[in-house]
């Protein structure tokens, strides 16, 4: 008989560090080896290598049409791999039909069975396993409790709200306790508040069940919130796979830097490298600007980009004494977002830089005004010098 993993009601304190990807001995749950998928002459996924470990919450991020859904569908078995292999616990998945894979998918459209009640939708997968009635009933009740839908068990899908549908779809995919759960933009239809609630609910479920999650999302904030690691995709390739904080603080290239969060990008040529710091020539007659040097450091004169987040740029009326990098400009625009304000500052060179301040004082939310001449400054370790 099938045993489902126990679900403790209280979450035990978080383990010391969860980072199986850093351990070369760790065996991945899923491994992509040079996976390519072509539709006719169009390449949707291009020579992809990726390892996903057990108990991970893995987020796939990328612009529309970059191949995220295709990747998921190959994992679930709806799409055949053109080249390369996908391994699950070391076994090649080629030729294994969807119904024989220990993988369940939560569809973007939810794909609930319209003719079955919420209860029967959740029980559907369990019944296919020919489990005894009482085991099924127990499991379904457990799932209903988990997604807080016990009251709606007898309703048909068309009688419940969008958010409730989404939770039914989640419960249905979770019920079979799959090794791997694929979520394709699972929260796309929800409003911001419900979406945030559900994100935390998802993380809670993941912690309780220990299932490995792969989630596709358009919303980078969502990816940062829920994921243990984030992969940024572009045109069927992976640009960077890393933890959310490293993706944010140490983007591998200008594309990733620009895709995740707001960032100022200043193009130039490498002037010199002194220890950790690299300086770049960015405009005629201006002092070179500094940031953390890429490793290995490129040769002087090569094309580089300085990337600096707006919240790391200070704005002031006077030139701050001893600032490592300081430029002068005029405020062109102010975006007031309540908690923060973003200043758009035009430099004499024509560059537009953004600086953010936190509005801690209600009556001094706008310390600076339109047209004011200001100084922007940052430390050498605040920015990143990226190749290319």
């Amino acid at each position: 008989m099938r045993r489902f993993p126990a679900m403790p009601q209280t979450v035990s304190s978080a383990p010391a560090v969860f980072a199986p990807w850093a351990d070369p001995q760790a065996r991945p749950l899923i491994e992509f080896r040079g996976v390519t998928k072509r539709f006719g002459s169009f390449t949707a996924v291009d020579g992809l290598d990726l390892k996903i470990y057990e108990r991970e919450f893995f987020a796939l991020l990328g612009p529309s049409g970059c191949g995220k859904t295709t990747l998921m569908r190959m994992l679930a078995g709806f799409e055949e791999v053109t080249e390369g292999q996908i391994l699950l616990e070391g076994r090649d998945l080629a030729g294994v039909p969807p119904n024989r894979r220990p993988v369940n998918m939560m569809f973007q459209s939810y794909a609930l069975f319209p003719h079955l009640s919420v209860w029967d939708n959740i029980a559907f997968g369990l019944r296919r396993d020919r489990l005894p009635r009482d085991v099924i009933a127990e499991r379904v009740e457990e799932m209903l409790k988990l997604v807080q839908l016990t009251r709606f068990a007898r309703r048909k899908p068309h009688q419940i709200s969008g958010g409730q549908k989404q939770r039914v779809a989640l419960a249905r995919a979770l019920a079979k306790a799959p090794k791997l759960l694929l979520l394709d933009e699972p929260l796309g239809a929800l409003d911001k508040k419900l979406r945030q609630e559900t994100q935390f609910e998802l993380m809670g479920i993941q912690e309780k069940t220990g299932t490995t999650f792969v989630i596709v999302t358009h919303d980078q904030e969502e990816a940062m919130t829920v994921a243990s690691r984030v992969a940024v995709m572009r045109d069927g390739r992976l640009e960077q796979v890393d933890t959310p904080d490293r993706i944010y603080e140490f983007p591998a290239n200008a594309y990733v830097a620009d895709f995740i969060g707001e960032i100022n990008l200043i193009e130039g040529r490498l002037a010199a490298v002194e220890g950790e710091t690299a300086r770049l020539h960015w405009a005629e007659g201006q002092t070179p600007l500094g940031g953390l040097a890429p490793k290995p450091a490129p040769a002087a004169g090569e094309k580089v980009t300085l990337a600096i987040r707006p919240e790391k740029v200070r704005i002031s009326s006077e030139r701050p004494a001893g600032a490592a990098n300081a430029v002068r400009g005029r405020i062109e625009d102010i975006a007031y977002l309540g908690n923060i304000s973003t200043y758009h500052v035009v430099l004499s060179t024509g560059h537009v830089l953004r600086a953010q301040t936190v509005n801690t004082d209600r009556f001094h939310a706008r310390e600076h005004t339109w047209g004011e001449d200001v100084w922007l400054s940052w430390s050498d370790s605040a920015g990143l010098v990226l190749k290319g």
Partner: protein, 272 residues
């Protein structure tokens, strides 16, 4: 609400009169007491009584009914399978040719369909009788079923079937447990359509019927050539009633399923 103009009213009346007046006359005269078809002599159900005692008509009716039930059931099974293969089967060799071919009988003159079937039955040396009529009716009504079913299949979300596979169904189980219940209204409508088509087919049945089995339309047609009798009127009235019930049921079923679909969509939009 817009008021009807005289012009609209007139054209509507004329149109409906043109369509239904002949039938109305037929129905009225089936309750005529007189033996002369064109002379009204008071209300009577006499001809219905005579009809029940007419062995030849009853035999033909029985044959027609059996043919209709068996052939429409076969056509529904085959037509649904064909629709599923064409809509869901993905790309396979000659798919376009296939989908074109399945609709060809819709526009093919019945005489040609009947003739070619007749030649086939002669070629394979099959005695003409109830079996051959069933086969012929299955063949020509199958494509109607497949048109009705495939229009429903096209409109439904493929990922619902994928979800079934994902949750452990074999492709056949996914069809039986998920696809079929969802397209059931279309399948039933298809069956009713095939049933009525078989019930009132004259041309193809005359090609494929043999001396051992005659269907009602053939019987009516051959007896009318000897003169219209009130009995025929009574019989036709019964047929009209059966067909009308079939058509109305079919349209009610599909209307209800459309209404439900719209309700689902509205609920989904409102909930989102």
């Amino acid at each position: 609400m817009r008021r009807f103009s005289w012009f609209n009213l007139t054209s509507l009346t004329l149109g409906f009169a043109f369509l239904y007046l002949p039938m109305l006359i037929l129905i009225v005269y089936s309750f005529n007491a007189s033996k002369l078809v064109t002379v009204w002599a008071g209300f009577s159900t006499r001809w219905y009584g005579e009809l029940i005692r007419n062995e030849a008509f009853l035999d033909a009716a029985w044959v027609t009914l059996r043919v209709a039930v068996v052939s429409s059931t076969l056509a529904t099974v085959l037509g649904t399978m064909a629709a599923h293969a064409l809509v869901r089967g993905g790309r396979f060799l000659g798919r376009t040719l296939f989908s074109g071919m399945i609709y060809a009988p819709l526009v093919m003159p019945e005489v040609i369909t009947g003739l070619s079937l007749l030649l086939l039955f002669i070629a394979i040396d099959l005695d003409r009788g109830i079996t051959t009529i069933v086969l012929a009716h299955t063949t020509f009504s199958m494509c109607y079923v497949s048109v009705v079913v495939s229009s429903r299949l096209v409109s439904f979300d493929r990922s619902i079937e994928e979800a079934a596979l994902d949750l452990g169904c074999t492709p056949f189980e996914a069809f039986r447990l998920v696809t079929l219940p969802i397209i059931a209204p279309a399948v039933i409508a298809g069956w009713l359509l095939a049933f009525t088509l078989s019930l009132d087919d004259l041309v193809i049945a005359s090609f494929t019927a043999g001396p051992s089995a005659t269907t009602l339309p053939i019987k009516i047609f051959s007896s009318v050539r000897l003169g219209v009798s009130p009995e025929i009127n009574a019989l036709s009235t019964i047929l009209i009633a059966i067909v009308a019930v079939g058509v109305i049921t079919a349209s009610l079923i599909s209307k209800r399923s459309i209404a439900r679909q719209m309700q689902d969509t509205r609920a989904a939009i409102a909930g989102a």
